[in-house]
């Protein structure tokens, strides 16, 4: 089978802009990466990834946006930041992964790992609702989203028996303030998506772009 050829010049200024944007949003210099591979070698999830973390950095440097944002790697990353801690060039690799996830979501790229995206959403919805994690509600909404209703049910029952899962969410003081934060972030994201569609530069208000 003829291997696909990536045309590096066809990427053009958009590629350079993508690299620059990732660097700016992640607060790191993506061109510092010298491809030593220490990040990939230490990554606990790398066995499951389609691109190694080092290769994601490479795709960003080359401005190959589609390849990077369609990868499974950005979703599989567990944000443990072992890569960042060990990087000899002090590149914020874990933050770059976060940034790419946010970017993929913002720009409507199909999620390569749907379940993981659903998990993130279920978690955030739970927090948005009660101000802190509500495990049972989160599990149910994750199961509804993925239709994997009976998978892991043994584990769930064990947890219930041991009292690790509470039936009702716990309320915290200041749940309203948490809701306000979520509203504010959604507002920012709406603006960003709109800006993206109209081709305007995205303004950042100090958000780290958590999805």
């Amino acid at each position: 089978m003829e291997m696909e050829v990536l045309n590096l010049t066809a990427v053009g200024p958009a590629g350079a802009a993508f690299a620059a944007q990732v660097g700016a949003e992640a607060g790191t210099d993506v061109f510092s990466c010298y491809q030593c591979g220490k990040c990939s070698a230490g990554c606990p999830i790398s066995y499951a990834m389609d691109y190694q973390p080092r290769q994601i950095m490479r795709l960003v440097q080359l401005g190959l946006k589609d390849e990077a944002l369609k990868s499974s790697t950005i979703w599989l990353c567990a944000s443990c930041a072992t890569c960042t801690t060990r990087c000899p060039r002090e590149v914020e690799i874990a933050t770059v992964m976060d940034t790419l996830r946010a970017m993929a979501r913002r720009e409507g790229y199909p999620y390569k790992e749907r379940n993981i995206a659903a998990f993130h959403r279920a978690f955030l919805n739970a927090v948005a609702g009660g101000g802190r994690a509500y495990e049972l509600g989160m599990i149910l909404s994750y199961k509804m989203a993925t239709f994997e209703l009976i998978k892991d049910i043994d584990l769930g029952l064990t947890w219930l028996r041991q009292g690790k899962l509470k039936f009702f969410p716990e309320r915290i003081h200041g749940a309203a303030a948490v809701r306000d934060i979520f509203d504010k972030v959604r507002e920012i994201e709406r603006k960003e998506v709109a800006a993206q569609r109209e081709g305007r530069p995205v303004a950042h208000e100090g958000t780290e772009g958590h999805s």
Partner: protein, 659 residues
Amino acid sequence: MRRVGVFVCWCGSNIAGMVDIEQVKAAAAKMPNVVYVEDNKYTCSEPGQAAIQKAIKEQNLDRVVVAACSPRMHENTFRRTVSGAGLNAYLLEIANIREHCSWVHPDKAAGTKKAVDLVRRAVYKVAKNVPLQRASIDVTKKALVIGGGIAGIQAALDIADAGQPVVIVEKTPSIGGHMAQLDKTFPTLDCSACILTPKMVDAAQNQNITLMTWSEVEKVEGYIGNFTVTIRKKARHIDTTKCTGCGICWSKCPAKLPSEFDLGLGQRKAIYVPFPQAIPNKPVIDEKNCIYFKTGKCKACQIFCPAGAIAFDQKDELIEEKFGAIIVATGYEQWDPSPYGEYGYGRYKDVITGLEFERLVNASGPTEGKIKRPSDGKIPKDVVIIQCVGSRDEAKGIPYCSKTCCMYSAKHAILLDEKIHAHPYVFYMDVRTPGKGYEEFYKRATEEHHATYIRGRVSKVYQKGDKLVCLGEDTLLGKKVAVEADMVILASAMVHQPAASKLAQTLGISYDQNHFYTEAHAKLRPVETNTAGIFLAGACQGPKDIPETVAQASAAASKAIGLLSKAKLETEPLVAQVNEGICSGCLWCKPICPYKAIDGKVIKERIAGGKTIERTVASVNASLCQGCGACTVACRTGAMNVLGFTNEHILAEVDALCL
């Protein structure tokens, strides 16, 4: 009966760990002529040497064998030791029981047996040794530097500063070499001409330096301290005493030719100086292309020359001069990348070499420093730089790494971004930056100038519209990539000068399989050759950048200064000697001698009947002879012998080992 003393060294555990010293001592005590045996932990130490001297006096020794390390390490040390005790230095033999024995044997019993054999060999040989005397020769206090690039200029300036006269012989019309062609220099990006031309001017103005440009070394005879060199001063067809370098001649000359200095990217005239800052700033006439020389008509230069300096009838001159030391600084050439058909050099105008790019970006170059691509003068937007073109490629190029290309490619990438905001794509296999400030410079290219480095060799360059598409693999991604470039720069290898081997033969020095001159020792004698009095500087010895070249040139100069500062030179007495009585005069030894030390001479001889006849015999110039022994092997009558290694010596050694 000789009185031989044997001194066995432990060298700590280096020898004693694998050789039973007591057994060696016991065996040595029974060998013929041996009257005294002693061991020492470190014979080369001061107490170890003192023990030898004490034994020589107390035991009345007349020969000494030291069983220790290689003679390369300490033969001279022990020669001084024995002569300090009043013995002739050549009544010493070394038995190498370390490098040749303990270091290479895993078995102590076998190692001990071999050590005994090696000691016996030395004992048998030393019995045949006779006292030898060193001679002394005069030194001509003048140095010759061959090549007027940065290496030659630096070496000449250092020698001149030490107060010794120097002659620089340069084959092109001006000194300056390749460095004069470069634009900026890594890793500081200072302009090449700005740091070179002051040195060129210094060389021209220094009272101790004589410049002989447009000249070549034709013949070298003699030996260390006393070389006789014939230099061909090619006809310049200019009376340099009259010429003022005003430039009217070359502005009037109608013959336009591709400029060698601009690598064919620009033009020169048939009467020309190669570049504006040339030294001397006096033109030469290119006889092959001058209209007057071809047709007998024109003479425009002569008509317009206000100084009357044109001399069409000038002929080549042969100048013979004596020198005490020679520094070879003939530099390198850039490899012609035509064998890479897949890169299209020569077929696509916009595929150029690194050196050609230097001319394109240089303010004194054919585009006045504006980076325009050669085909249509367009300013390139995307530029591919291909590294290792010719280098590290035994199939099409040369096996070695050219050492400078990684750095000059990073420089080109920076210049492309800085000057015309072009995007550089650098295809590389490894990036090698082992120099002060070099890694930082490379980092600057990737981080500040966003040069895209792609790990992989370009497989093919082809034209698509007005673009040159470069196909390669990004081996870090494991994906094939294509770059549509406006211009392609080939970081072509550094190779030897075409005439390097010819000059080596003229000088009697050796060169390697890549035609780079060979140093006497890769680590410990890096600027000397195997021929005494001839030194190496710069890229003629192997690829080098400017800092390294300058350092090596100063090192070679200091060697030459050391030699020239001596009133007399001591010669090694271990040289070939002819027994004229049995020499048949066949002179087979003469062409075999690599040092040109042997010649025939006619001697008169009285034979039976009272008649006197004349016959030819071989004659060895002891100053040239390096004692290699090639002649002794060639000699059919056994008339030729190397002192200290005579046939008698060698047979004694064979007896010691085999009987």
